[in-house]
């Protein structure tokens, strides 16, 4: 009883958090919760929920085929469980797929826009069709419980064989088509995973792992509800699955040897290590454990073999789906939000599974003899008669409370920073270094501009020319440096320091000094800065400010230089390249850069990406500077 309650409470917590994060994802976009990026377009939702999820849901068609087509009646009592597992497995995969779509409300588009060359088109049709089949296969169970639609139930049970056949045929396509998805990436997927046999490998491994997932689920349920485990029957099923697993390993190794990739397995790279781990978990451990006759019939052997195979095949799918694809950017690490959504979908499915197991006649496993072991009397989810009348209501209240609290905590945990900045990191600006010639490299990336400060000073007319660029003075200052206001490399900065003006260390001004007490306090209704700071803006400066929002350092530098340069390029006969980016952004050795910083950015693989000059400025400040 406590087992069930603890387990369910954990599941409800994760589900609650995931619902909060999922809603955030829906309303504020993928970037606000995930670390998905242009270099990692598919992440943990594909690599954990979709690809492994579908493989692990294969029990639905494999075990029903064993029961109804191969007529192995001894497994008949597991038919409903395996169909339910597959149904929920497909629902979780479909949910994750929809969560991952950029435009989830367009998910039905493959129905009307056909593109039969696309493996993903095949996948989406298979998901839709097989979900329908699974629904029809499963629906008699709850109908039987409620007693409604007896005619429909009889009809569906009568034509069960048709559904089983359809299920096997669609699943064959679907399992293999997930492999087909990655046939188009021969140069991106690591050689140990890419194979022209991917569809076949996916199919074989799904057939093998499907029944093992069923076994694992039965073991979990038996543990939770203290049911008796039919070890012999399960061991026989596991044995057959392990033979298929061995076949999978064999085909894979033969394929690797035949395509001359055998050496890569032992080349010592991290990919080869993962390959060996994957092979160990998915094939070697289950085969060894189930291979020994003495071991085979113990529950722990079943536990080890099934969980090892499930993890191993899951890892293989995750590797193909993303881990082993070539990266072009930083390493993808899923965010906490992403992982929670991923687990939340699984938790919700697990809760639905437990719900069905508790309510409906899922399978008739004999209870352990209560006389022999009084502790083992099947306890369902009853909290006791402590409060609120019936036990069912009591536990419902507890779970609802857990869910609601988790939901609230989830919303509280979401970082608004991430939503507002959409994953943009702060790049604080460092001052330019040098004397007569300044090395301007605000973000210290080793690529900067050598700015001949003294030359410009002399050329533009000495002291009277400062205001052309230095358009603002901080209090008690006559020529503020650029980065003091333009303190972010790529984003605008609000330069009015409200906290500083209001603090005892700073101005310690009363509100009334700037805000009119009769008006709502806002930036628009406050006094302007120049009312107090009379010489904030030097006289004659061509750059006028209205809002105190400093454009990004890059924009400010471009804004102040490019206009003049372009003008001079047309005026001066021998300076026509002056207006070009390469006039300033040279690849020559920067004179003022520490050697180690220079070396870091000059490895042979590094390309310098110059962000193009701004053409549109949201802050509107650029227009004023021009």
């Amino acid at each position: 009883m406590n087992r069930v309650k603890t387990f369910k409470s954990i599941l409800w917590t994760i589900t609650g958090l995931a619902v909060a994060f999922g809603m955030t994802r829906l309303f504020t976009g993928l970037g606000s919760v995930s670390n998905l990026s242009d270099s990692t377009p598919w992440g943990i939702w594909k690599g954990l929920n979709v690809l492994p999820g579908i493989a692990l849901a294969a029990g639905g068609f494999v075990v029903t085929a064993v029961i109804y087509i191969m007529r192995r009646e001894e497994y008949h009592r597991y038919a409903k469980v395996t169909v339910l597992l597959a149904f929920l497995g497909y629902i979780t995969a479909a949910t994750a797929l929809v969560a991952e779509l950029g435009l989830p409300w367009m998910v039905w588009h493959p129905i009307i826009y056909w593109q039969h060359h696309s493996a993903l088109f095949e996948v989406s049709w298979c998901v839709m069709l097989y979900l329908t089949v699974l629904f029809l296969e499963f629906i008699p169970v709850p109908l039987e419980h409620t007693g409604a639609f007896a005619g429909l139930r009889r009809f569906l049970n009568k034509y069960k064989l048709v559904l089983v056949f359809l299920g096997v045929m669609i699943s064959t396509l679907h399992q293999s088509s997930l492999g087909t998805l990655f046939l188009i990436t021969p140069e991106k997927l690591h050689a140990l995973w890419y194979s022209s046999l991917l569809p076949i490998l996916f199919f074989i491994s799904a057939v093998a792992v499907g029944p093992l997932v069923l076994i694992l689920a039965i073991l979990v349920i038996s543990y939770l509800y203290r049911k008796q485990i039919e070890t012999d029957k399960l061991a026989k099923l596991a044995g057959a699955s392990v033979i298929v697993l061995a076949l999978f390993g064999l085909v894979r190794l033969i394929d690797i040897v035949a395509t001359g990739k055998f050496g890569i397995i032992f080349d010592g790279s991290w990919q080869s290590d993962i390959f060996l781990i994957e092979l160990l978990l998915s094939v070697i451990v289950p085969v060894v454990v189930m291979g020994f006759k003495r071991l085979r019939h113990t529950p722990s052997a079943l536990w080890i073999a099934s969980s090892s195979a499930v993890i191993g095949i899951g890892l293989q799918r995750a590797n193909v789906a993303g881990i082993m694809l070539v990266r072009t950017g930083p390493i993808y690490v899923p965010t906490f939000y992403e992982i929670t959504i991923s687990l939340g979908i699984l938790s919700a499915a697990a809760l639905a599974f437990l719900f069905c197991v508790e309510r409906f006649k899922m399978w008739e496993v004999p209870w352990e003899d209560p006389e022999e072991n009084p502790e083992a009397v099947p306890h369902f989810d009853n909290v006791g008669e402590v409060w609120l009348g019936t036990p069912r209501i009591a536990s419902r209240t507890v779970y609802s409370l857990i869910f609601v609290i988790a939901l609230a905590v989830g919303f509280a945990m979401i970082s608004t920073d991430r939503i507002e900045s959409a994953g943009i990191r702060d790049v604080p600006v460092k001052p330019a270094r040098g004397g007569d010639t300044l090395f301007v490299d605000g973000n210290l990336d080793g690529f900067g501009v050598e700015f001949a400060h003294k030359d410009h000073y002399d050329r533009e007319g000495g002291n009277s020319s400062c205001v052309i660029c230095h358009h603002m003075n901080l209090p008690y200052d006559k020529n503020s440096r650029c980065q003091e206001c333009h303190s972010q490399m790529y984003t605008a900065t609000d330069i009015f320091r409200h906290d500083w003006h209001a603090s005892p260390d700073g101005g310690n001004l009363a509100c009334d000094m700037c805000h009119n007490p009769n008006e709502q306090r806002a930036a628009e209704t406050a006094k302007s800065c120049a009312d107090c700071h009379k010489d904030l803006e030097p006289a004659n400066t061509p750059i006028k400010m209205e809002q105190y929002l400093a454009p990004s350092y890059a924009d400010a530098m471009h804004g102040v230089c490019i206009q003049c340069h372009k003008q001079r390029a047309t005026e001066l006969a021998d300076k026509e390249t002056l207006g070009q980016c390469s006039a300033c952004h040279k690849l020559d050795t920067p004179a003022y850069l520490p050697d180690e910083v220079y070396a870091k950015f000059r490895d042979s693989s590094f390309n310098h990406v110059v962000m193009p000059p701004a053409t549109v400025n949201k802050a509107g400040a650029r227009e004023k500077s021009e």
């Binding site: 593109q115 293999s176 087909t180 188009i184 991106k188 390309n607 110059v610």
Partner: protein, 253 residues
């Protein structure tokens, strides 16, 4: 079939093409992210210029493959290879699966990660302009003739002519002539540009063909599996019957 030829030896890195692209497509200013380090392309930069160590300026944009992997990958036919050579994108069909990003051998399609309603973003070779008989904004803006627009056959001939005229200067290959079945965006250079994409390119297959065999096998696999299961069912049923009869026979004896 239209094409763009970029002569790396002529590019001076002035970014006029990038600015023109942004202006003609109304793309906002961008903020660099970690993943831009590769090539500077992003949802707001459909073309970018990469400065190489050797001092070369290399313009990146969609290569407009003749047999595009993205077109074959898209489940809803939102990416279309047009007769003009441009591979264009129809946002009204897109579901946001990003399989095109996985499939593209050059890693070109980018995504509006920060938007709640995101779309794939990539160069469309100014399809609206070339339909009207104009040239793309980038080639029009190039002050040095480094990137030019024209018929693919003519540009290929021009590229070969340039290489032939100065064999010592140019690397003897027109990049984009044969890779992944040929592309409409061609390059010539005085260095080996390789594949201008992921590092590990060894050979350059026509990508849609890699999945074609598996896709053609779909009906066969579907019906074949049905037939196989039917046969198995018949066999098992017959086996059970024979066993039952035998058992009945034993009982009678």
């Amino acid at each position: 079939m239209k094409a763009i030829l970029t002569d790396i030896t002529k590019c001076i890195g002035c970014f006029e093409c990038v600015a023109a692209c942004k202006a003609s497509h109304g793309l906002e200013n961008d903020v660099p992210r970690d993943w831009h380090r590769n090539d500077g392309l992003s949802a707001k930069n459909w073309t970018a210029i990469v400065q190489r160590q050797s001092g070369h300026y290399i313009r990146k944009q969609c290569r407009h493959c003749l047999e595009p992997a993205c077109e074959s990958a898209c489940p809803v036919a939102a990416l279309i290879h047009t007769d003009t050579g441009a591979v264009i994108y129809d946002p009204s069909k897109c579901i946001g699966c990003r399989y095109c990003m996985i499939a593209c051998p050059y890693g070109i399609p980018r995504y509006n990660w920060e938007d709640a309603v995101p779309y794939i973003q990539k160069c469309d070779m100014c399809y609206d302009r070339i339909k009207r008989g104009l040239q793309p904004a980038c080639t029009e803006a190039c002050p040095n003739g480094a990137t030019i627009f024209g018929d693919r056959d003519e540009l290929l001939a021009e590229a070969h002519r340039r290489i032939k005229a100065e064999p010592d200067k140019y690397f003897n290959r027109v990049f984009g002539e044969h890779e992944v079945g040929g592309t409409s965006v061609l390059y010539i250079a005085d260095i080996d540009l390789e594949f201008m994409s992921y590092p590990a390119h060894k050979d350059t297959p026509v990508l849609p063909e890699t999945t074609a065999a598996a896709m053609h096998a779909v009906p066969v696999a579907f019906l074949g599996m049905g037939a196989l299961m039917g046969g198995l069912y018949w066999f098992c049923k017959r086996r059970d019957q024979v066993q039952m009869e035998a058992r009945e026979g034993e009982d009678k004896e």
